[in-house]
Amino acid sequence: MMDAATLSQFRSIVGDDQVLDSAEDLSVYAYDGTATLRVTPGCVLLPDTAEQVARILEIAHRRRLAVVTRGSGTGLAGGSVPVEGGIVLCLVRMNRIIEVDEANLAMVVEPGVTTQRVADEAAAAGLFYPPDPGSIKISTIGGNVANNSGGLRGLKYGVTRDYVMALQVVLADGQVLNTGTKCVKDVAGFTLKDLFIGSEGTLGVITSITLKLIPPPAAKQTMVAHFESMTDAAQTVSEIIRHKIIPCTLEFLDRVTIACVEEYAAIGLPLDVEALLLLEVDGHPAEVAEAADEIERLALAHGAREVRRAQSEAEAIGLASARRGAFSALARLAPTVVLEDVTVPRSELARMVAHIGAVGERYRVKIGTFGHMGDGNLHPTFLTDERDAEEMGRVEQAMREVFEFAVELGGTITGEHGVGLAKKPFLAGAIGPVAMDITRRLKADFDPEGILNPGKIFD
């Protein structure tokens, strides 16, 4: 519980009803989308403006109170799990679209706007905001920037970082920093905005975001390829890339995941295949048609049993949203699902996938794997029960082996979910001592009192 004097100061800033401190309210902000992590905060504040955020941080800085910023709480590495007794700064009420600037192909938004709304507003202006994380319907753009979120279109269109032109950030002591412009070219000083993208709320609180928009592709085609073997699917992916075709989406699901997704979405996925590739190509209609034909040829030549093309926009959307539900759908099989996010160079996909299978067998843990095969980003998901300590121990060991192998292959421990709490023990091994040292020095400089999301990413 937070002391009464501090709470009343916060009430005078954000209003009585935007300060939550009942046991019930604290219990429902104790988690994000990550399995097994729960920490009860001292209070939840829901500010409405950047100015309120600045005044809150001034107080927190003076009193050395931990502040964990969050949006919709869909994070998958525990990055927005509270600090015991600390402040949860929930920005969902800061959800205004400030400007859609068609002349400069840019959009200015507050951090609490959902990613889906960003995409919809862009589309309404005849433009396109490509990053589409799995939780697009509810994740907030502020959370996306803070985690440098990826999504299904990363392969062709990149990730959130590639669409951030400028940021407004409230620093730990309440100062407001504006960094970046709507200019395509801008080399005036260090590109400070890049420091905050993917910083998981440890360096500042993002209060306004200027996003880059692009013209939408004129045509697209969604396809599904069925495989009897995982290696064939992985090989097909390598071949597509080798043939210099860059689909906007190149996803895969293994047998376990397919079954769960089909049970949820009932869209007629085959239940008797080992792997399924979900692809989308987009661009000029002629280019799309050509790429689709070439992909079909390559898939069939590398062992695909069947290649199907979506016949309508509705079918394409159905396939993509079924894929987005993959992680949650796996929860049908086990009480606890622990999702990982290893990423490897695309040439190493087949080896990584085989290793995950072997590790699962060796430690006797059930794993469902799916992910963004086109960009080497895999989501092996461990199906377990948090109440079974012995099995959780084996899961832990299996995970460690998967991480170590990914790093050995020249990959990384997390492609798009972030480090948060879940990957913290593995960060030093992945990035090395020099990078760790610089990270710590930056943190000490931006946040000398250590109030911003303390204990996340590194200790």
Partner: protein, 471 residues
């Protein structure tokens, strides 16, 4: 914090199979589907937040507090979260158990509330006879001129604003019950050699306020080769009770209905008397499908309850299943622009979404318009518009905004609660549209065809057996 064993009261959430709670992996994908979350942006008012509180209570970390209780009654129970949930969380069970736990704990107890609950849940809505008596009284009030007097006199202004808003939500009572209409209009139409034998749940509110929808349902079924029976001993389906924390009454009513529709038979007798149990109210159907779960531990009833759940069909679902005859005439001389509003418990509770649209699309002269957010709750939600008028009206205004944007002639919907709520919305927003059950539009189309045919001096029988040609 609190040890339920010391309380001496069984905590229903602790008694629940823990895996139902654990099924929620708090990914948050339900949030954008939840009307109360979208309006408030409060985690507590989201499905994920509510389940987290339930789990905290089951774990003994949180008490069954007033805040929790109020939150559980703030939840619409619309089940949109179930449709959205990839993990397959059984929110309906969690919702019912939580409200039952709230009632068992007594945190909301007051003398007035006890009296209202006893009167409504235990006395009126457990007896069709008492419902019908109440309906007669209301009918007299509405038709005798007394209501006009009360409205004109300004007596209503003596009531608090929240109650005053409710008066127009009282359903219009119809003079004739389903049974009377059935006798008058349709009994003679029962086909001689039926393809299907079905039984209809006439419902409680449906029976007194929308007996015409029941009569239309019967007529449409008969014209599609079904023999329709109306079991005399049936009662309210019990959804009102189950959704309001009175699971004991809900079980009693389920047993009565099972006895009425699927009487216990001696060994060797034909076990399955009807092919389907038809319901035309989304809220009732959603609950009826769960009789199996409700009576799973009842040795005398579990088997028949399971059979019951397998046989329940929404009317539009059943019509599509038996490949109903598309009507040959339109229900109206003008083309009707129809907006279909999805009842939450039809769509999310029963997964019936396409079939009512297919029924509507089959009707000549009906132009089905795309209603934005068609499956967003209208705020009726059983008795939610009475218990939570403020949120209910917010949702109604949101719904009416969408309806106004397409200006339909008819709003079609498959649940009496939605009909009453949207009719109120239409009056409140000064729109010009009527609200009808899809099956009533279908019945009207059949009827216009019948009149056309009758003008050509054909007997009513000839129209039923018009060898495969649509009627």
């Amino acid at each position: 914090m609190n040890d339920p064993k010391k309380e001496g009261v069984e905590n229903l959430l602790q008694g629940l199979d823990y895996s139902v709670l654990q099924q929620c992996m708090h990914c948050g994908l339900c949030l954008p589907s939840c009307p109360t979350y979208v309006e408030t942006l409060r985690e507590r008012s989201s499905p994920r937040g509510r389940i987290a509180m339930m789990r905290a209570i089951a774990d003994g970390d949180l008490e069954t507090s007033r805040i929790f209780a109020e939150e559980m009654y703030f939840c619409l129970g619309c089940l949109a979260c179930e449709t959205a949930c990839p993990a397959g969380v059984d929110y309906a069970t969690l919702f019912e158990q939580s409200r039952a736990q709230v009632e068992a704990s007594g945190v909301l107890d007051s003398r007035g509330r006890r009296l209202v609950r006893a009167l409504a849940l235990r006395w009126i809505f457990t007896s069709r006879r008492r419902i019908s008596l109440l309906a007669k009284a209301l009918y007299l009030f509405q038709k005798s001129g007394l209501r006009s007097f009360v409205r004109a006199s300004g007596l209503l202004r003596l009531l608090p604003a929240s109650l005053r808003e409710l008066e127009p939500l009282t359903p219009e009572i119809q003079r004739a019950s389903t049974r009377t209409l059935y006798q008058q209009r349709y009994r003679f139409l029962n086909p001689g050699s039926p393809k299907y034998r079905v039984a209809l749940l006439s419902g409680c509110v449906q029976d007194i306020a929308f007996s015409d929808v029941n009569a239309d349902t019967i007529g449409v079924l008969q014209l599609n080769g079904c023999e329709v029976i109306l079991p005399e001993a049936q009662q309210c389906c019990g959804s009102l009770h189950a959704h309001n924390g009175d699971l004991a009454s809900a079980r009693d009513l389920a047993r009565v209905n099972i006895d009425a529709f699927l009487p216990k038979r001696a060994r060797g007798e034909e076990a399955e008397a009807v092919d389907a149990i038809i319901v035309n109210a989304g809220g009732c159907g959603s609950h009826m499908r769960h009789y199996d779960r409700l009576l799973a531990d009842d040795v005398d009833y579990a088997e028949r309850a399971a059979m019951w759940s397998r046989k329940v069909r929404d009317i539009c679902e059943f019509l599509v299943e038996i490949d109903f005859r598309p009507p040959a005439a339109s229900p109206d001389s003008d083309v009707l622009k129809v907006a279909y509003h999805e009842s939450c418990h039809l769509k999310h509770g029963q997964g019936v979404s396409d079939q009512p649209r297919r029924v509507l699309e089959s009707i000549p002269g009906v132009e089905l318009a795309q209603l934005p957010e068609a499956d967003w709750c209208c705020g009726s939600a059983g008795i939610y518009n009475i218990t939570q008028p403020e949120m209910s009206m917010k949702l109604l205004d949101r719904k009416m905004g969408h309806i106004a944007s397409i200006r339909p002639d008819v709003v079609a919907t498959g649940n009496p609660g939605c009909v009453i709520q949207i009719e109120h919305g239409i009056r409140k927003h000064g729109l010009d549209a009527r609200v009808q059950h899809p099956v009533s539009l279908l019945a009207a189309a059949y009827e216009r065809r019948r009149v056309e045919v009758a003008k050509r001096d054909l007997s009513p029988e000839s129209l039923i057996v018009e060898g495969g040609r649509p009627i």
